[in-house]
Symmetry: C2
Subunit: 419 residues, 2 copies
């Protein structure tokens, strides 16, 4: 049996889960763990304080260590540490979605140069088996489309808004109290976290480099409880969807934004902090993989899976894990969101009910936009009309023109609708 020596950088939630899980694997020896503060009290059974160091350089340059497990998060100093580790001949296992999205190309090139691998199953969807299946058993496929729920915090908030009929602000507060949302929730609720993840996932699935700066991103902070109610009435749920599509000419449309999804769609049933990834390819068709997208133990499952995969091949006289290699040299061509075609949910408040449907209908018809659903309710107190429409597929820039022409009305929300 191979026996690998590893160093772990970071002993927060994920690092603790990895430490506890690795106790059952005598073939993996933990040589060193880098932490910020050696003297911080930690309630981790079996943790020998002699393993700890506050100098991560001791890990990335340690000649005894075969695999560096980076679970500290953030770009700095993780980026430099991973580079140093690769230069010192270590394999890397990381859960760092931000670093992969922003600096993946440089890191994978450096790994290739040193004939080492970087595995990162835990960085995209926690415990869900995703990257390794794509690189191995799905390797015979041309993957063309991904629709995914990749952020547990926002899915929790949207699920609670839906089931309890409460506002975004109220649920966020509760989620913060429960520890599901951070004090500064921006990274989650504005879609950054999901955007990091879909950047790398699309790159791997398409075999073309998708650049983070080309990923369109919109968060969930503007979703109103009224939108949730209307979506339900029309047969939909609202989810924060990370999506990626690539066409035969290598144009990649990659984005994160809220979407209305039909109630009978797979992703509509993914609730609270669960994540799910729907992958469409040829010949497999569509597969859906779901599970816990975060958390101490689910994430540890993926980190440990990656460690064991490297360990199983570490002594071979050949480049290891050939199927896991990340091809990324050819860039995908980005698609501007204004050029994309979507269906749209539009919620409008009109000053009065008379002729307003005719007006909206005319504005849309002039741009060749068809309406598939219309819901009008008169608000008696102030004589305004509350109108909800769902359009057929049309170009995003035309919808922006429609909104401008609706200057006499208040446009409350525009949310894209999944096909």
């Amino acid at each position: 049996m191979n026996k690998s020596k590893i160093g772990i950088i970071g002993l927060g939630t994920v690092g603790s889960g990895v430490f506890k899980t690795l106790k059952s694997f005598p073939e993996i020896e933990i040589v060193k763990i880098a932490v910020n503060n050696i003297n911080k009290p930690r309630n981790i059974e079996g943790l020998d304080k002699a393993l700890l160091t506050d100098n991560a350089q001791e890990i990335v340059t340690n000649p005894d260590i075969d695999i560096v497990v980076e679970v500290m998060g953030g770009v700095n100093p993780a980026f430099d540490l991973i580079k140093t580790a690769l230069e010192n001949g270590k394999h890397i296992v990381t859960a760092n979605k931000e670093i992969l999205a922003k600096h993946g190309q440089e890191l994978f090139s450096l790994a290739e140069k040193h004939n080492k691998v970087i595995l990162y199953e835990a960085a995209i969807a926690g415990g869900i088996p995703l990257i390794m299946p794509i690189k191995t058993i799905l390797a015979g496929n041309r993957i063309t489309k991904i629709n995914a729920i990749l952020n547990g915090t926002t899915n929790y908030i949207l699920t609670k808004m839906d089931t309890d009929g409460v506002s975004y602000e109220d649920v966020l507060k509760e989620a913060q109290e429960l520890g599901y949302a951070e004090t500064d929730p921006t990274g989650d609720v504005e879609g950054f976290d999901a955007a990091y993840k879909i950047t790398t996932l699309a790159t791997i699935a398409f075999g073309k480099r998708v650049k983070y700066e080309n990923v369109y991103r919109e968060g969930i902070t503007k979703i109103r409880k009224e939108d949730m109610a209307k979506a339900n009435e029309l047969g939909y749920k609202i989810k924060l969807i990370a999506s990626a599509k690539i066409d035969e000419n290598n144009n990649a449309d990659v984005r994160v934004h809220p979407m209305l999804v039909l109630k009978n769609a797979s992703l509509a049933h993914i609730n609270y902090v669960t994540n799910a990834v729907e992958i469409t390819g040829n010949p497999v068709g569509t597969v859906v993989l779901s599970g816990a997208g975060a958390g101490e133990f689910p994430t540890a499952s993926s980190v440990v899976g990656d460690i064991l995969a490297i360990n199983s091949e570490i002594d071979k006289n050949s480049s290891i894990l050939p199927m896991m290699h990340c091809k990324h040299d050819l860039d995908a061509t980005p698609v501007n969101i204004d050029d994309t075609f979507n269906k749209y949910y539009i919620s409008i408040t009109a000053p009065n009910a008379i002729g307003v449907i005719a007006m909206i209908g005319t504005i849309c018809a002039n741009k060749n936009i068809s309406l598939s659903s219309i819901l009008q309710k008169e608000v008696f107190e102030n004589k305004t009309a509350d109108i909800t429409v769902i359009t057929e597929r049309c170009q995003e820039k035309l919808i922006k023109e429609v909104v401008e022409e609706l200057k006499d009305c208040t446009v409350n929300s525009i949310i894209r609708v999944a096909d």
Copy 2:
């Protein structure tokens, strides 16, 4: 790049899909394809008739061939062909669930003896990535529970019975006309197909040999449209569930039978021919993998994935694919269905309504069985009472005693209920 030479045995639905998919992979050369009848007209683009043979021995003994792809199905002659191929130093990729369930141990031992691998992703759940993820990225887990929908034909029939409110017989006829069910549907509707699959899946997931003859099996032919309606009323769907549980003492409870599953459970949303596998392990928690469980192209995806995996490692000077190795020497201890604990849905027709609930309640109470739901409807025409109960968890043998004591009533259906 490695270049493997393969021989394919069988050119039916799966074989054709494999042939068509492999056209995009120049690293895989198809040397020979064995068929029953060389002269049968086949509409397969690019198929050179010179590739065909009606003598499969030419493939399994051919010194040029590295990998034998067995997609003919059935035990004979596939079993002997695979053994001969292994003895002649070929790796095996197979979609043959029956052979793995009945003779897996012998085949895996023979493969190990000859330092070859048998991969079989397509045998369990068509295109769904399942076996390779369990053996690789989930390798850090102790898997303890599987609940799955592994047969598309029966799931189609149950879905149609549910949505259209029609009888088993009527849907079966329609499914046969559409080609979703075979002329003799026994293998599907009596649960044999699902039992083959869960035998191998449980063996792999638990790392203990589960024997096919110990798998409890019950089909869907006795499910009435009235049961579907009642289940719906009580908040459930009825699905044919293949399940497997193992405890710390190595007792494996593996079965295939219909079950009521709560409408908000993952498997309740898996409809028509889609398959799904819910895997629970530590540390990952629960993941659900779903997709097409059969069909030309989904199945080809898994067969080709296995071929590419072997190809990527075929020239290495070490035992290949170490993580894929099938540990199977230690048998799991079977659990008798009479000893298991379940909830039960029981549909009863009583000769008259007076005192019948009290009688049922007393019979159950005497055996310490609690009832969680009771639904009674008087049938006015013939003065009988139509009663549906759902019990709390209790031992199967006690439920059999309850049924015997209900001798004055007609017990229409007993269906187990998922926790």
